[in-house]
Amino acid sequence: MKEQLLEIGKKVVEKALSMGFDEAAVDVRSTDSLMVKFANSEPSVIQNWGSTEIGVYVTKNQRILGTSAPVSSLDDAYKILSNLYTMHTQLPQSMLYAPLPEPKKPDPLPGLVDKHLIDAINEPSNVSEAIVEAVNRYKIDSFAGMFQATHERRALVNSKGAELFEEGTFMKMYIRAFAGEGSGQWSLGSRKLKIKEVEHVAETAADFAFRSRVQEEVPPGRYNILLSPMVAGNFFNYIADMALAHSVLMGSSIFMNSKPGDKVAAEKLTIEDTPRNAELPGSTSFDDEGIPTYDKPIIEKGVLKTLLHNTKTAAKFGSQTTGNAGLIFPRLWSLTVHRGDYKFEELLSEMKNGLIVTNNWYTRLQNYVEGIFSTITRDAIFIVKNGEIVGAAKKMRIADSFPRLLQNIIALGDTQYDMYWWEVDTPTRTPYILVKDLGTSKHTA
């Protein structure tokens, strides 16, 4: 497979150069994936995907053009490339152009492939049965969710001489359980399949559902809120996305008016982009420009350390690439929020009175530059009084601003969890995070 994908990449690069393009980079990706989706405590659909696709980046006289196509339609891809070549004369030079960098040899990242996950793609029913069994250990009414296993092989070839290959597997899963008025949800992203961890996801969801089965109204206002890793993962996906250099360029970032070195968060917070953590899906040894990746803090002890760049945005900002290149724009790989030293019970003691929000969705911004947002909770919210959980609350919104939230972080848990689901699109390792005086809201009628 490795030679086959590299060969396709080389062929397309050669073809693009022979057409007259100055530069070409080709990403060839072959994916096998399986997903079992559950609803009403039974499988609702078993989905399988197989594809081999190319993504192509080409330039001519500083014009940037691109295409993607299935490998089975390489002739179609050549036709598109030929049309793009004809089109380039009508385009002005790109405001983002910079030459492709000289390739460097990345250090291989071991441990990206797990045979158990490859087996699960072919025969998933054992995992499905383990999920059904684990979630039913609790007194719940029903559950829903999904388990996905993916095997991906990726080759990168470019006209600067990069010829790189990487193979990896990953799993993504989440379970949502329902009991009475309550529900609970938990997720996991991993490069390896461990049935114990799969069961833990199912059990956590069921436990939250059971413990929130009776709920009371809590009035909106400012609360000390303990964000579960599900919620923290969602928020830090947004915040890290805003650290991508093109988000700043395009007017979609709270960092538009900040520069590296500025204090943007409480000192306790350090968040890193961690492509070299082989345990997290998203890890990789090289980016789409053939540059070796490395782990780097985005915010370190509350200080903005760097925006995330490819060579194009780096040139625009007078900076260096951070090994975050996608074919055109920079991208996140995986995120890690450093853990603190608080045990879970200590977080509740520190909070004294407040809420534990275990899950949220539908985070939307009124204004990306000012970071004004609201999000609505789903699943268990636990009420904490005098450092103890005393009940469960009905749904509400968190409505505040990201800059204020970052400044108001007062404690981080000592255990990290690996989150990856619908609302945590970039795999994120994070502990529970305690934020003081966070705004909440509810419907008025």
């Binding site: 609803a39 078993i46 995907w49 691109g66 299935p70 004004i372």
Partner: protein
């Protein structure tokens, strides 16, 4: 036009049946896309891509199996069919309620949407010139605040499908779509920032660009954003007021709080871990949800619409669906599975985003039925209130009950007249409160384009949502501080 890969689609249906599947459906699905992106009038780059493959869905052993491939050979497709059947069968022991489909009169038809101004007749130079001109006019439209960024993108797409299933459907379709989107940031550092994301989209060709007239209205909107920064005051939040809700917000509200909760698969819990459940329960047809003015229709057959289709991806002929009718819950959105469960006929709501997606229940073009007022009459009927014309932030809970919209352009109304601008009013209310509080709607019907997300993996499908301006009585507003 010529239709490719019909043979592979028919082969897939035959192969699935021979492997013992009770139902087999195959779809060749292709998207050809081109786009151009710019920032502040400067081009970033151009892209052109193709995505195509065959999707196969089967019922085997009472379980639903799906597989897709972009290896467009007989072997590639047969392999996908085998995977779908084999893995569905392997899960049959976990099925408590075997999947079955309703009997329907399925289509055998071919249809196309034609562009009046075809994509290939509009040169890249014309598009570049349009983008540069837009930046020039927008950036020079204000002088106190400044336009920090105007990001613009133009997208063309052509969607082609060939669908067949073992119950006799055979549908071929081709739908071209154009879209134009922008993100504008207007800022005056000492006073604040206003941001607006917006996109236009519809089925057709470059004739739509003229119709949308972005160059005509965006400079004026930009002046309004500057005015909001400079002059807008706090909205009234201390007591309930009347609110004229702009059609842009009404459109989103009906999509979120009528369309989504009416999806029968949500009602049955199939999306419970993703987009959630619904406040509508299976036995709620006929229950009151709003006033007599609250009628919400979802209609895939509107010519030129973003959500246009004549047959769904299960081969069922499309028709308008009256979700709420004169204030009552009237009809759910069905595919053939939910139709079977509810003992009704499918109303053709099964759509798939691309060849890698299973068809699931989706909206098409959802709108609030216009009333008989003029906009002026709506405002004249308000002694003290707020008109909220547009929004930025919004969300709704996973049962589609508690919803929130952060106003962008909004005005105080006093004694039947629009007064000064108000900043960041928030409409945060339940679905029932909204529909029950409507006492009038105007005659205007405006549609807005969106990409609706649902499913796992997430499927984004093109939709329109719209409506008239409507008046609601006696609602307490909030404000973003």
């Amino acid at each position: 036009m010529t239709w490719k890969y019909e043979d592979l689609v028919l082969l897939a249906v035959e192969k699935g049946s021979s492997l013992g599947a009770q139902y087999v459906e195959a779809r060749y699905h292709k998207h050809s896309r081109s786009s151009l992106a710019a920032r502040n009038g400067e081009i970033i780059g151009a892209e052109s891509s193709v995505s195509e493959g065959v999707a196969v869905r089967v019922i085997a052993g009472g379980a639903l199996g799906f597989a897709s491939t972009n290896v467009l050979t007989r072997e590639g497709v047969q392999d996908a069919v085998q995977k779908a059947v084999r893995k569905a069968q392997a899960h049959s022991k976990l099925m408590k309620n075997p999947v079955e489909y309703s009997h329907e009169r399925l289509g055998r038809a071919t249809y196309e949407v034609n562009e009046l101004v075809p994509f290939e007749n509009t040169s890249v130079e014309e598009k570049v010139s349009y983008i540069k001109d837009l930046w020039k006019q927008v950036s020079s439209s204000i002088s106190t605040a400044r336009v920090a960024t105007l990001t613009t993108w133009i997208g063309e797409s052509v969607e082609e499908k060939v669908i067949a299933n073992s119950d006799g459907a055979f549908i071929r379709s081709r739908i071209p779509r154009l879209s134009l989107g922008y993100n504008i940031v207007v800022t005056l550092p000492s006073k604040g920032t206003i941001q607006r994301f917006f996109s236009h989209a519809g089925s057709g060709g470059y004739e739509l660009l003229k119709k949308w007239n972005v160059i005509g209205y965006l400079p004026e909107d930009t002046r309004k954003f500057e005015q909001i920064i400079l002059e807008a005051k706090s909205p009234p939040t201390d007591k309930p007021v009347d609110v004229v809700v702009g059609s842009e917000i009404v459109g989103l509200m009906v999509h979120e709080s009528s369309g989504h909760p009416s999806e029968a698969d949500r009602i049955l819990g199939r999306e419970a871990a993703q987009a959630g459940k619904s406040f509508i329960k299976p036995n709620m047809i006929g229950e009151r949800i709003g006033s007599e003015y609250a009628t919400v229709i979802d209609d895939p057959t509107i010519p030129g619409s973003n959500g246009f289709y004549l047959y769904d991806d299960e081969g069922v002929p499309a028709r308008p669906r009256y979700l709420y009718k004169e204030g009552k819950i009237n009809e759910f959105l069905h595919n053939r599975w939910t139709a079977k469960v509810f003992g009704v006929s499918s109303n053709a709501a099964a759509r798939a985003m691309n060849y890698e997606s299973e068809p699931i229940i989706r909206m098409a073009n959802t709108y609030f039925k216009p009333g008989d007022h003029t906009f002026e009459e709506l405002v004249e009927g308000v002694k003290f209130g707020v008109y909220i014309k547009s929004y930025m932030e919004w969300n709704i809970d996973d049962e589609r009950w508690s919803q929130r919209y952060g106003g962008l352009e909004a005005y105080l109304i006093e004694n039947g007249e629009l007064r000064h601008l108000v900043k960041n009013p928030v409409l945060e209310l339940t679905t029932k409160t909204f529909y029950s509080s409507v006492d009038a709607a105007d005659k205007n019907l405006e549609f807005y384009a969106g990409t609706c997300g649902k499913g796992e993996p997430m499927q984004g499908v093109p939709v329109w949502f719209g409506g008239p301006n409507v008046r609601i009585r006696n609602v307490l507003l909030r404000v973003i501080a």
